[in-house]
Point group: C2
C-alpha cells in the first residue's frame, strides 16, 4: 500500500500495515508483536480541520487521568492544563498563537503548562526557600513532566476517535498567552493542543518519518547511520511525494529543516525564550 492513501482513523488494523504507512517499507526481518495500544499510537496523525461536535463528557477527565498516570520526575507533578472552551477566548488564542484558525474551530483547546508555581507555594506554606526552583534543570523537568502527561492525553483522545494537534506557537508570545490564561509567576504554557472530532471532508494521513535506523542506535551513537546522505535523500523524496498527494507544501525534509532553522525570523519570537523565562520568574539567578 502507498503511504498517502491512509485517510480513515480506523482503516489500518495490522502492525505491519501501520509500519508500512510510516516508513514506506515492510519491517526489515522482524516480526512485530501484536498490541492494540501500539496500533492506536502508530495510527496518529495531526488533525487541523475539526467538526463543531463537542467533546463528550468524561473524555477530558479520562485524558487528564491518563496524563496524571504518566511518570513524573520525583513525583513533583510540575504541570497544569487549562481547558479552554469559550469561543471568544479560543479566537483570541488563535490570533496570539500564529493565526492558526483551527484553534478557534476545534471545540476544545488545552494549554499545557510547565508549573513551578504550585511547588513554590508549597515552600511558602512551609516557610522554606526552594533554591532548586531557580535551576534550568528544574524547569526542564517540568517541561518533560508536561510532555509525558500531554502525550498520554493525546493517546487517550485519539482512542476515543477524536483528533488532536499540538500547538508550539503558544511560545511565540508567551506573555500574551500568560495574560489570557491568568497564569501565575513560574509557569509557562509550553504547548497547546486543539481537540475535536476530525472534519471528515478534510481527511488526514499518516505522515512518513525518518527510517528507524536513523534514530535507533545500538550501544553507541552511530554517526554514519544518523546522517547517511542516501537515506536522507530517499526520505526527502518520500516525504515530498506524500505531502504533495495531500496538497501540502512538498519541499521534503531537508529543505524544511533549512527553512525552520536557517533564519531566526522563522522562530517568530521564540528566539527570546531565555529573557522571557527570566521575566516569568524562572532561573532568576543563572543562565
Amino acid at each position: 500500500m502507498s503511504d498517502v492513501t491512509v485517510s480513515s482513523f480506523s482503516a489500518l488494523s495490522s502492525m505491519n500495515a501501520l509500519w508500512q504507512a510510516r516508513y514506506g517499507t515492510r519491517p526489515p526481518g522482524i516480526s512485530l508483536p501484536e498490541s492494540p495500544v501500539a496500533r492506536s499510537l502508530m495510527t496518529h496523525r495531526s488533525v487541523r480541520a475539526f467538526s463543531p461536535t463537542p467533546v463528550p463528557d468524561g473524555v477530558l477527565e479520562a485524558a487528564v487521568a491518563a496524563g496524571q498516570s504518566a511518570s513524573t520526575s520525583c513525583n513533583l507533578q510540575a504541570w497544569s492544563v487549562i481547558a479552554v472552551r469559550d469561543p471568544a477566548r479560543r479566537e483570541r488564542l488563535a490570533r496570539i498563537a500564529g493565526d492558526q484558525d483551527f484553534i478557534a474551530q476545534a471545540p476544545l483547546f488545552l494549554a499545557w503548562v510547565a508549573d513551578l508555581s504550585r511547588l513554590e507555594h508549597v515552600g511558602q506554606m512551609r516557610g522554606r526557600a526552594l533554591p532548586g526552583l531557580d535551576c534550568l534543570d528544574t524547569f526542564l523537568g517540568a517541561v518533560m513532566d508536561t510532555a509525558f502527561a500531554a502525550q498520554n492525553a493525546a493517546a487517550t483522545f485519539e482512542s476515543y476517535g477524536l483528533g488532536i494537534v499540538y500547538v508550539g506557537a503558544v511560545r511565540n508570545q508567551p506573555e500574551a498567552i500568560s495574560a489570557e490564561l491568568g497564569l501565575p509567576r513560574r509557569t509557562l504554557a509550553v504547548f497547546g493542543m486543539s481537540v475535536g472530532y476530525p472534519d471528515r471532508k478534510q481527511p488526514t494521513a499518516i505522515r512518513p518519518r525518518l527510517p528507524q535506523q536513523v534514530v535507533l542506535h545500538s550501544e553507541q551513537y552511530d554517526r554514519a547511520a544518523a546522517s547517511n546522505p542516501e537515506v536522507l535523500d530517499a526520505y526527502d523524496e518520500r516525504l515530498r511525494t506524500a505531502d504533495a498527494a495531500r496538497g501540502r507544501p512538498a519541499r521534503g525534509w531537508s529543505d524544511s529543516v533549512l527553512a525552520r532553522l536557517g533564519d531566526i525570523s522563522a522562530l517568530h519570537g521564540r528566539e527570546h525564550l531565555p529573557q522571557v523565562l527570566r521575566r516569568l520568574g524562572f532561573m532568576p539567578g543563572e543562565a
Copy 2:
C-alpha cells in the same frame, strides 16, 4: 478498594477502578467512557526490580515505531535513542546515573537523546548556516520531541506486559554519559529508561496523584484550586499511607518537594545544566 493493594499489571479492568486507585475517590459525577488505551495508560507504575528475561524480538522496534508516530515540532524529529544491552555498559551507566542498580539489572536500557546534531549535519550538507540551532527554544523543542516519543514507547512496552522506569539521573553527569554513548556535539541524553519484565517477587502499585482539580483548570488558571491547603494536606496523607504500605519512605508530597528543591545539593550536579549545555554545543551565543 484501597489504592495500595494494586500489585498486578492486569488486575484492574475498569476505568472507575483505575481512577479510584490513582485518586482515592470515585470519579466525581462523571462517567468515564471506556477505552482500552486509556486503561493501559492509567495502569502505569514505575518498575525498579526486573527479571533477567530478555526483551523479545520486535518489541523495541514496535516501541520506537510508536515513538516515531508521535507528534514532532515542525517534523524536525530532533531525537535519537540508544539501546544498551551490553551488561558491562549498563553497569557503568548505573554508576554514572546515581548508582541505580536496576539499570544494570534490567536487560535493556534506553538513552533518550535530544538531537540537534542530525539537523546541523543537514545544514552542513547543504552549505547553510542554521542559526536557529543556537536558540534555547530549539533545544526545548528537541526535549519535547524526545519526551513525546519516549512516552509512546513506554506505553507500548507496558502494553506488552513489560515494565519501565524513567531515569532522570542521566543528567547528573551528562558529559560522562555522552562519552559512554559516543554522543556527538549538540546532543544531550535527557533521560534514560530501563525496560524489562517486572520481578514478580517485588510487586509495584499504582501511585496516588494530586486530585484532578489541582492540575486541570477551566478557562483560566485557578490559583485557589492549585494550592488549596486542605486538598494538599489530604494528598500528603494519602501518599504517606500508600508509600508506607509499599515499604517506601513515607514523607508525603510536600516534604518530598522540600527535600528535592530546598537544597541545591539534592540536584546532584544538575544545577550546572546551563554550563553543560554550552559545552555540549547548545546555545553558544545566548543565555
